[in-house]
């Protein structure tokens, strides 16, 4: 597999090579800077094997041999740890009643988000359902923004107006509370991309429960009819709330349920497999072949939400088993340490750093203020004169003092 390296990266590898004992470097051409899989005694790039993807209506699929360099290894490890810690912090906040309402944690599914993001390029869009905290952070929000949104504070991603299920960043269309509602939306975003001749995809995520929504069938049909660059991604964690997949779906081969839309099944606990598959899928869509359906076989450790202990429909042993044998972070950690891409010390240092970042975010999330009541009537309409909002009584009818949250934030000095 060929890999294009920048001059800087090449220089780094070259100097490392010179300092250590290099085994094999091939075809450095004059015109470009190309080198094949570089295997070094002290590795800065290593290749691994992943589980093959199952294919639906495809003759070939993603590579099972993938490469990983040190920089990426540390980055992916860090990213997954941030999500794990952040979700853990959210769970604790919930137990302390500092977060109320509904809170759906992503712990266990980190490899899906981090792996997919690793393959995404500038301009790609993502839309997902309510298990969105990890995605929100990955796509540009800070840990503070995520945690403070859960506690409903001004520092929150939507300044407290959206809550757990409604967080957004550039090219990240949320965060959706209503199951399945995001599926046709994703197809629509993809249409806009195609219309604007962007070489991008819209990653449209949904769960195994949502796979039974009529909307998905409608969205899939439109996407295929018009060759839209949508990646329909089913994050199959085995349960739709408390219902196991076999009890809700006539077919649990979610990657085939696009029927006329080709699909691939991916081991969602292996971040490298996810990255590789997503890269492949993107190439497929970018080349104008239309939508693709992906199924990420993954697992969530917590219950559906914080109101669900998660043990009434599966055994604790099952959860422990997955944690022990298939955890995305420990699995990845083992790989990168064994292959010398990283050392225990480096990873410990990252852990420490991540803990610090999350702790600082927690401080703000539990101490910041809440938007004043005028926030109740911001962001209802756009570009209209200040609306008359009928209040709890006719006399509480007010004219919007601030039309947007941005105006309100400016007024209270938090712009």
């Amino acid at each position: 597999m060929t890999k294009f390296l920048s001059l800087v990266q090449l220089e780094r590898i070259w100097s490392t090579t010179m300092a250590l004992f290099a085994r094999q470097i091939q075809s450095l051409t004059a015109g470009g800077i190309r080198t094949q899989q570089v295997r070094l005694a002290s590795s800065t790039e290593v290749s691994f094997h992943t589980k093959p993807c199952k294919l639906h209506k495809l003759d070939s699929g993603p590579n099972t041999s993938v490469t990983l360099n040190k920089e990426d290894a540390l980055k992916y490890y860090r990213d997954m740890q941030v999500i794990r810690r952040m979700e853990s912090a959210a769970g604790n906040l919930y137990k302390e009643k500092k977060i109320r309402g509904f809170c759906h944690l992503y712990s266990g599914q980190e490899a899906c988000a981090v792996g997919m993001k690793a393959a995404m390029t500038e301009g790609d869009a993502v839309i997902t359902a309510y298990r969105c905290h990890g995605w929100t952070w990955l796509l540009g929000a800070t840990v503070t923004e995520v945690l403070a949104e859960l506690t409903g504070r001004i520092a929150g991603n939507v300044h407290g107006k959206g809550g757990s299920m409604h967080m957004y960043t550039k090219n990240f269309y949320g965060g959706n509370g209503i199951v399945g509602a995001q599926q046709p939306l994703g197809a629509g975003v993809a249409l806009a991309m195609k219309y604007r001749e962007q070489k991008n995809v819209c990653v449209t995520l949904y769960g195994d429960g949502a796979a039974n929504q009529g909307q998905l069938f409608e969205a899939t049909n439109m996407a295929k009819l018009w060759d839209l660059p949508v990646l329909f991604v089913c994050e199959n964690n085995g349960f739709g709330m408390g219902t196991a997949v076999e009890r809700a779906s006539a077919s649990t081969e979610y990657y085939t349920r696009g029927d006329y839309v080709p699909g691939i099944w991916v081991d969602g606990m292996d971040i490298l497999a996810v990255r590789e598959a997503t890269k492949w899928a993107k190439e497929y869509c970018d080349s104008g072949k239309g939508p693709l359906m992906m199924e990420m076989a993954t697992y969530r450790y917590h219950g559906h939400s914080m109101s669900d202990p998660g043990t009434s429909y599966r055994s604790r042993e099952e959860i422990q088993e997955v944690r022990k044998t298939r955890d995305p972070i420990t699995g990845f950690k083992d790989r990168i340490i064994t292959s010398s891409l990283a050392t225990e010390e480096e990873l410990k240092a990252i852990d420490k750093e991540v803990r610090k970042e999350v702790d600082e975010a927690l401080k703000i999330a539990t101490s910041d203020g809440v938007l004043p009541p005028e926030a109740l009537y911001t962001d209802i309409y756009h570009n209209t004169p200040a609306q008359t909002i009928r209040g709890a009584t006719i006399d509480e009818t007010i004219v919007q003092p601030y039309k947007t949250s941005a105006d309100l934030l400016k007024a209270i000095g938090r712009a």
């Binding site: 209503i178 009584t393 006719i394």
Partner: protein, 368 residues
């Protein structure tokens, strides 16, 4: 919590701490003081709303062999435990889970009912009823009409959760009843407590018209009273006066009845006004005569509901009453309802039509 929020909320109670205010419900459940007609002296058992709904369904399924219950997660007992033990008792072919597909659930329920079996379909949260809206409005409501009575889905009852719960935010707090009152052919019912819930739900299940039964989720555990243990129904289309008065008529339904009762108590203490509180119970068809008679007596009307004010069902009541009681009215009809905004996240306490807002409207009306 901001200072302003605290000061506003502290008007509700001056003795609670910050943390206590945050978790406090915006009302206190007022148990019914009288039992429905014909049930006085019957043996009762202490039950909360969840248990009384469970009871009603158990009785319905015992007395009707064709009754089936289905919805998301109902088999293990339901997310609010309303269907606890029902699958155990009646078996998997009568109590079963559906996949996650509200439109499918509603349509499927209509089919079951049209074929002659009693269908109890659960939509887990009223906020999720909108994918099912087309089926309910275009199919369920119109089946009898369009077939000239050859077919109907009267055996369908849709049960769904309803209303603010303190932390539900945008999609777990809505009161969608007004979206359906614009559709002739459906019956819509909202109970205020366990006694009414049991009787009204049994009526809905046995009523030969498609019914939507909205269960105030905040009352599932909070509302507990002595409920008659036998098989009884409360007639649909009948309102109930839960507090007698002569100075003002206050109409509400569901959770808001308890807010109204507290506001009425406050009005007695502070304004020496006797407020008559009516629980509408059935929203469609609503008991016009009962409300009109009351307003003819008092000359003043306030309608209060959680749903946003514009085109909330209070608007229909106000319009009808002004026509029928025009010369009786001593003050303009007031509506105290939710704001015309989506149901908010952290700003819920400001959004809701609280006791003090209702009291304010009472004060304005009696002083008009």
């Amino acid at each position: 919590m901001s200072h302003r929020a605290v000061s506003l909320l502290s008007k509700c109670s001056s003795t609670l701490t910050n943390a206590q205010i945050r978790g406090k419900a915006h009302f206190t459940f007022q148990p019914s003081t009288t039992l429905p007609a014909g049930l006085q002296g019957q043996e009762t058992s202490k039950m909360n709303l969840m248990q009384s709904v469970n009871e009603a369904m158990r009785i319905a399924m015992e007395t009707d062999d064709s009754a089936v219950l289905f919805g998301e997660d109902v088999a293990f007992g339901g997310v609010f435990r309303c269907s606890l033990d029902l699958q155990k008792k009646f078996g998997k072919d009568r109590v079963f889970n559906t996949p996650l597909c509200e439109q499918g659930i509603a349509g499927f329920g209509i089919g079951v009912a049209a074929a002659g079996a009693t269908a109890i379909a659960e939509i887990q949260f009223g906020d999720y009823i909108f994918p099912a809206y087309d089926q309910l409005v275009n199919e369920a409501a119109k089946f009898r009409y369009r077939s000239g009575n050859q077919f109907d889905c009267g055996k369908l009852t849709v049960r769904t959760t309803w209303g603010a719960v303190g932390h539900g935010a945008l999609y777990h707090s809505q009161s969608p009843e007004a979206n359906f009152t614009h559709t002739p052919g459906l019956k819509l019912v909202v109970p205020r407590g366990p006694i009414q819930a049991k009787g009204l739900l049994l009526s809905c299940i046995r009523d030969p018209n498609p019914c939507i039964f909205f269960e105030p989720k905040i009352l599932y555990r909070l509302a507990s009273e002595d409920v008659p243990i036998g098989d009884y129904t409360i007639p649909l289309g009948q309102a109930e006066t839960v507090r007698q008065g002569k100075d003002l008529t206050l109409v509400a339904w569901g959770t808001q009845v308890h807010v109204a009762l507290e506001a009425a108590q406050l009005a007695k203490e502070k304004l020496n006004a006797d407020v008559e509180v009516i629980d509408l119970q059935t929203i469609q068809p609503w008991d016009e005569d009962h409300v009109v008679e009351s307003v003819q007596k008092t000359g003043r009307l306030i309608v209060t509901h959680e749903a946003p004010i514009s085109s909330g069902f209070g608007a229909e009541i106000a319009s009808t009453v002004q026509k029928r009681c025009f010369l009786n009215l001593e003050s303009p009809i007031e509506r105290v309802a939710g704001f015309d905004t989506p149901f908010p996240h952290v700003h819920e306490p400001f959004y809701l039509p609280t006791i003090h807002r209702v009291f304010d409207a009472i004060k304005k009306s009696v002083n008009y």
